[in-house]
C-alpha cells in the first residue's frame, strides 16, 4: 500500500515538473565584489544527465525582462518551433546605473560598468556552464540602456554571444558607428535583432531609425539582421511584440519542415529526401553548436517525400534512423512497416506493425492506426 502511494505521488510530481519551473539563486561575483540575484528557467523535462546541450539565453534587466522572455521561449519551444533553452535573468534594479556605466570620453564601459562586463563573461557564464547543460550558442536580451550595453560584447575578437536582441536600445555616443563597422566585419554567423515603435520615446526612436538605415545596408552574409518598427506600441509594450519576433527569426533554420520547404527544397533536392534531412540537421548543429533532436513532423515530411519520389532507400534509411531515435515509440514500428510494405515484403511489414502495439503512441500515431495497418496487411497476405 505504501509503495502504491509513493508511486502515485511520484506520478503527480512528474506531471507537475513537466511544467517550467523558475529557480531563484544568488551568486557571488569576485569581479563585482558582491552578490547578485539571478533567475534560472530550465526547459520542461530538463535532464541533467542527458548528453545534449541547450542554447543559453542571458536576460539583462532580469527584474522585469526575464518573465516575458521565459514565457515566450516556453511557449514556442512547447510547439517545437524553437529549441528548448536555458534562460538566465540578472536582477539589476538596485545597480542598474552602476552596471551599465559608460565612460564619457571613450564611450566604453569603465569602473563598475567594466566590472559588470567581466562578471557576465568571467563569473556568470562559466558558473551556468558548470552547473547546467548550456551550449555555446548564447543569446543576450536587453531593453533600453541594457540593449545598448550588450553591444560591447560584439567588439571582442570572439564575442560571448551569437545572437543579440536589442529592444528599443538607448544608444550611447559612437555606438551606432562602431556597430556599423563591426557588423560588417564579423566572421562568425551572428543574429542581430532591433525594435522600436511609433509611440516609443521620441529621442530613442530617432536614433534607432538612423541606426537601422545604416545596419540595413551592411553587406556581410555572416550577419542575419532583422528589424521591427511596431505600430500602436510604446517603449514598454513593444517588448511583448519584439521578443517572439526575435526568437522565431533567430531559429528560422531550426523550425519544423513546412509545406514551402517540402515543395521547394525537399522535392527538388539533388540527393535523396533522407540526405536532405541529414544535411538540414548538420547545418543546424554547425550554425547553433548544438544538435537538434529529430522531431516527428520532419519524419513525416521526409517519409512523404520519399514515397512521392519513389525512393525506397531513402525510406529505409529514415525507418532505421527513427528506430534508433525513438526505440520505444510506435513511430519506429510504423515507419519500418511502411518500408517493408513499400518493398512488397508484407510478412515483415505485418511483423513490424504487430511489434508496434506494445510501444508508446506518438503525437500522430495511435494504436488504432497500427491496428488498421495490421488488418490491411493481413488482408493483402490472405488474398
Amino acid at each position: 500500500m505504501k509503495r502504491f502511494t509513493i508511486v502515485l505521488i511520484l506520478g503527480f510530481t512528474c506531471t507537475f515538473f513537466s511544467m517550467a519551473q523558475v529557480k531563484y539563486e544568488i551568486i557571488y561575483s569576485e569581479n563585482l565584489g558582491q552578490e547578485r540575484q539571478i533567475k534560472v528557467q530550465l526547459p520542461r523535462n530538463y535532464d541533467p544527465d542527458a548528453k545534449r546541450t541547450y542554447p543559453l539565453v542571458i536576460v539583462l534587466d532580469g527584474d522585469y525582462l526575464f518573465e516575458p522572455v521565459a514565457g515566450n521561449i516556453d511557449y514556442h519551444a512547447y510547439w517545437e518551433d524553437i529549441p528548448d533553452c536555458i534562460i538566465v535573468g540578472i536582477n539589476q534594479s538596485e545597480h542598474r546605473l552602476d552596471d551599465l556605466y559608460i565612460e564619457e570620453e571613450t564611450y566604453f564601459p569603465a569602473a563598475k560598468g567594466a566590472d559588470f562586463y567581466n562578471f557576465l563573461g568571467q563569473d556568470l557564464v562559466p558558473f551556468i556552464e558548470s552547473t547546467y547543460k548550456a551550449s555555446n550558442f548564447r543569446i543576450v536580451v536587453g531593453h533600453d540602456m541594457s540593449a545598448n550595453y550588450m553591444n560591447f560584447f560584439l567588439f571582442k575578437t570572439q564575442p560571448l554571444f551569437r545572437a543579440y536582441v536589442a529592444l528599443s536600445p538607448d544608444f550611447t555616443a559612437e555606438m551606432v558607428n562602431r556597430l556599423t563597422e563591426r557588423l560588417a566585419t564579423l566572421d562568425q554567423e551572428t543574429f542581430y535583432y532591433m525594435a522600436t515603435a511609433d509611440a516609443d520615446i521620441t529621442r530613442l526612436r530617432q536614433s534607432i531609425l538612423e541606426a537601422h538605415n545604416k545596419f540595413k545596408t551592411i553587406e556581410n552574409d555572416k550577419i542575419n539582421y532583422e528589424f521591427d518598427d511596431f505600430s500602436d506600441a510604446n517603449h514598454y509594450s513593444l517588448v511583448g511584440l519584439g521578443i517572439p519576433k526575435a526568437i522565431n527569426q533567430m531559429f528560422e533554420p531550426y523550425k519544423p519542415i513546412n509545406g514551402k520547404e517540402y515543395n521547394e527544397k525537399i522535392l527538388t533536392f539533388e540527393g535523396s529526401p533522407f540526405e536532405y534531412l541529414e544535411k538540414k540537421y548538420e547545418d543546424i548543429s554547425y550554425f547553433y553548436g548544438f544538435e537538434k533532436r529529430l522531431i516527428e513532423n520532419d519524419v513525416r515530411a521526409i517519409a512523404a517525400a520519399s514515397n512521392e519520389r519513389n525512393d525506397l532507400d531513402s525510406l529505409k534509411d529514415l525507418a532505421k534512423l527513427v528506430k534508433k531515435e525513438f526505440p520505444d515509440s510506435m513511430m519506429s514500428a510504423y515507419y519500418m512497416g511502411m518500408y517493408h510494405e513499400r518493398e512488397g515484403d508484407f510478412k515483415r511489414a505485418l511483423r513490424a506493425y504487430k511489434s508496434g502495439l506494445l510501444l508508446e503512441p506518438s503525437q500522430f500515431i495511435t494504436k488504432e492506426m497500427m491496428l488498421e495497418k495490421m488488418y490491411d496487411t493481413q488482408e493483402i497476405l490472405d488474398n
Binding site: F16, A70, F127, T131, S237, L241, N248
Partner: protein, 392 residues
Amino acid sequence: MKLYAILLCALWTFSVNAQTIYKEINSAYLNDTRQLQIKLPKDYEANSDTKYPVIVVFDGDYLFEIVSGQVHFQSHFNDMPSSIIIGVIQGEQRYYDAYCDEVTGLPKESGLRFHNFVESELIPFIDNNYNTSKFKVAVGHNTMGNFINSFLFKKEPIFNAYVCISPDLSGTVRDYLSDRLAYFEKDIFYYMATSEKDMSRIKSSVRLANKAISQVESPYLTYYFDDFDNQKHYTLVTSAVAKSFDKIFQLYEPLREKELTEKVMPYEDTLDKYLLERYEKVSSLFGVEQHITEEEIKKVVEVAEQRNDIESLKALGKLSNKLFPNSLAGTFYLAQYAEKKGKRKKAKKLYESALELEDVAHINKDYIFSKIEDLSVTDTDESNELNDHEEN
C-alpha cells in the same frame, strides 16, 4: 577557488513569492479533479484588503507561462494592476471540454459540464480563497477561444474581458457575436486575433465576425482586433497575448505623453476633474484601488500652464493638498494661482507656508525663496508708492 566560492553561494536562494502554485480542484460537474496553476502577485498578502483582478487561462498547459510573463512585465511598470493568474490544465480533456453543438456553437454534454465547472465551481473557488476583485479576464486559443464566448452569451457574464486568440468560432456563436456585444449595458472588453497564415477556416470566420463586430456602436464595448502578418495559428499567440493585455489595461497605464496631448489638453472642464474621473473609472472598472500620484498632478499642472488655465491650477492645488497634506506641492500651486490672479500678499503668504511643508522632487525650494523675495520687493515698491503719495 573562485569557482568554488561562486558555487557555494549559489546554493542560497532568495524570496520566491513569484513561484507558481500547483493545486487540484475537485469538480462535481466533471466528476473528476483538475489541476490548476496559480500565480499570485509578488506582494500578495492573504490578510490584506487589496483586491486583484483574476485572469483565467484555458489550456494552461501551454498558455499559462506566456500570459504570466506578460502580466509580470506589464505590472512591473504599473501598466496594469498586479493580478491573480489561474491556469487550467486540460491535457487530453481539451477536446471534451470544448465540445459544442455544431448548430448553436454553444457547449453541450461534456462541454456544458466544463462550462458549469468554470462558472459554478472554479470561479467561486478562486473568489473564496483569494483576494479577488470583480474584474475577470478569460483567455482562450483555438477551440477554447470559441468556448469562452459561451460565458458572454449568459445574462450576467462572469468575465468582463475576453481574449479570443485565433478562436475556432462555430455556429450561432459566430453569427450572433456582434449582436450580443452590441446589447451589453455594462463595460465589456473583447479582443480577437487571427493572422495571414492562420488555419484558413478559422481565418475566414474570424475575419467575417470582425467585420460585423467593428460595425457595433456601443459606449460599453471596447473592441480590438489584430490580423498579424506572416504569422501562423500557433506563432500568433504570443503577439496576441502582448497586444490584448496592453489594450485591456490601457486605461490603467500611467499618464504618458500621448494621453496628455490627446486627452488632457482638450479636456473641457477643470483638469482636477479629468484626474478624478480617470481614477473613478479605473476603480469601478477593475475593482482595484489606484491612487493619484504627485507625479501625475505635476504632469497635469504642466498641461494647465500650457493652456493658460489658472482655474485648473487652483483646483489641482486643492486636490493636491487634499491627497498629500504634508507636501508643499499643493500650496505651491495655490500660491502660483494667487500670484497669477494678482493677489500678491496672499501669494507671498502661501509661498511662505509652502516652505514649512515637505519637499517634492520637482519643486526647487530656492525657487520659492526667490518668489518670496520678488513678491516682497513688489510689496515694498507698492508701499513706497503709497508713502510717496502720502508725502505728496
